[in-house]
Amino acid sequence: MSELTYLEAGRLALAEEMRRDPLVWVVGEDLGRGGVFGQYRGLAAEFGPDRISDAPISEAAILGAAVGAAMMGTRPVVEMRFSDFALCAMDELVNQAAKARFMFGGQTRVPLVVREPIGMWRSSAAQHSQSLEAWYAHVPGLVVACPATPACNKGLLKAAIRCDDPVVYMEHKGLWPMEGEVPDDPDFTVPFGEARLVAEGGEATIVAWSAAVHVAADAAQTLAADGIWVDLIDLRTLWPWDESTVRRSVRKTGRLLVAHEAVTVAGFGAEIVATIAEAEAASLRAPPRRLGSPRAPVAYAPTAEAALHVTAEMIAGAVREMVQGAPR
């Protein structure tokens, strides 16, 4: 185990996979100087400019070229800088990368990883703050990962690079400096579709991913101080998502709250709540709930940005209401 930041864990994962497999290469803007957040610092020195490749400001070509290069047996990792810019490459990701294997009848694979940093972060405003993970979960052919901790960022990124299908890999910009213990084993990977139990308790189930996991963990602590113990589940990957762990927990607790940073309406929380409502209706002792962003773009002003945040107080309050059967 080593103490690493979320950012360093991602960088280490990439370096290890590049050492392990010469077909792994990375492409994106400014990578030669370390990338916009420093996630690639030092890698060009070790791997050279062909494998840590700069790119023109050509998101469609970055992703489209990665599709072609992946079909030809290399394993590109693509950096989109802010997930918002991936919208400049949506045809390449959704119509091409996600569908090539299927529409060509299994003749090819597209083993690419698209890193798309998400989330609200320091007054970044409407075009640099989005969390559109629900979109990708809706698209057949894609795997979707949203790591919340340094260890997960190492293990999931490695799993993503080893995956033979396209993976949308969403790091949260607010988590870059977060520190944590990270396994040293170069074969440590986090399997897709296996959630992580962050806290355990019998009175409610909180499901979260990405930065919201930490907000929920704060809430869980507050609740514990009040004697309310909850299961806190970090989903880690949204597709596939660990339905059986969530169902098992809900069968135990009878209460489900999903918290995420993305817009609530048609967010992935809807999928989880709908699935549980369909499949675990008999287990539910209170109506399930979602907490997410109101359906508004993200503002620059901190007061207005903050108005969209799901807070630990909101989560704790919602759980308390559910447990105490308070009216909503």
Partner: protein
């Protein structure tokens, strides 16, 4: 028709082109009948009249070279070496089609012969082709990637991004713009500013040449030069081939937006007829040349009949080849 023979005419080579052009045309004529007979299911975009571009360019690609195409991709696919049987099964949506019936005409592909797919999104193949060539370069292989697209495609962003990419990274791609003067029902000159594909390519650092795309020997010759330059490590090239689609945009389109005059002049350019006339002047007997046509038609009729006999893919095909992890779960076949 000019009765003069090209200097250094390679009769055998032209004869082979003649045969292959007939195979493409016969395949598409059968496919059009298949559309009428409601056996070909989705839209098809015939390349009738444009065969010389596919044939002249692909003549310079080895099996290990790669090719990407568009919605109008039958000719490129057949020229690259796909089997007509598998292609027609694909067009009929059958088991044993090149894509197992999952892609159809617009996504026809045969990776076994380096044909990396037609594409239903105009210009999307340009950036993918650049990426395939990027992999070729990263792996130190010696392969050329040919990427076909229409004159309408040069108005989409990926044209700029893909050509710039290929030039910046010095990649082995031959971009081929098949300029048939129309994008669906729209005359491309009304929606395209500036001097066109070649000028755009040059401004992006990609040397370009223009050619009469209905003259298979001319295409053959310029493609030889360009592919040679690419193989020598010269980076990408663009070939702007002027041609004409004889049919409508799709099999269902009568093409009535084109003037009679234009249609008549376009039809007169037929590349197969021109090859035939040159071969006749060079001493081949017409009966032999008719044999090329007949043989091609026989092949495609047989393939069509055989395709009709093939079963549709099973229900479960809807759920395979999606992804390894998180693949769709479905109830047993209905």
């Amino acid at each position: 028709m000019n009765a003069m023979l090209p200097v250094n005419l390679d009769r055998d080579r032209l004869r082979a082109h003649h045969r292959l052009m007939w195979r493409i045309r016969a395949l598409e004529e059968v496919a059009l009948r298949g559309l009428d007979e409601k056996l070909v299911l989705g839209a098809i975009h015939p390349s009738i009249g444009q065969e010389a571009v596919a044939v002249g360019v692909v003549a310079h690609l080895a099996r290990e070279d790669l090719l990407l195409s568009t919605h109008r991709g039958h000719g490129h696919t057949l020229a690259k070496g796909a089997s007509s049987g598998a292609m027609l099964r694909e067009l009929l949506g059958r088991d044993g089609g090149t894509c197992g019936g999952k892609g159809g005409s617009m996504h026809i592909a045969d990776f076994g012969v380096g044909m990396l797919g037609a594409n239903g999104v105009v210009a999307a193949n340009i950036v993918i082709a650049a990426g395939a060539a990027h992999a070729v370069k990263l792996r130190g292989e010696n392969r050329v990637v040919a990427c076909f697209f229409g004159d309408g495609a040069i108005n989409r962003g990926p044209f700029l991004e893909g050509l710039n990419w290929a030039a910046v990274f010095g990649l082995p791609v031959l971009f081929v713009c098949e300029d048939n003067r129309y994008a669906a029902t729209t005359r491309t000159d009304t929606m395209t500013a500036g001097p066109g594909a070649s000028a755009r390519a040059r401004s992006l650092g990609v040397p370009a040449e223009e050619v009469d795309g209905n003259d298979v020997l001319a295409v053959d010759e310029v493609a030889a030069r360009l592919v040679g330059e690419i193989r020598a490590g010269g980076g990408p090239r663009l070939l702007h081939a002027h041609t004409w689609r004889v049919t409508g945009h799709t099999g269902a389109d009568p093409g009535a937006y084109r003037s009679e005059d234009e249609t008549r002049r376009g039809a007169a350019l037929c590349p197969i007829r021109r090859a035939r006339e040159t071969l006749a002047i060079a001493g081949l007997i017409l009966a032999e040349l008719d044999g090329d046509e007949a043989e091609a038609r026989r092949e495609m009729e047989a393939a069509y009949a055989e395709a009709q006999a093939a079963p549709f893919p099973p229900f479960a095909a809807a759920f395979s080849d999606v992804q390894d992890i998180g693949a769709p779960q479905h109830a047993a076949a209905a």
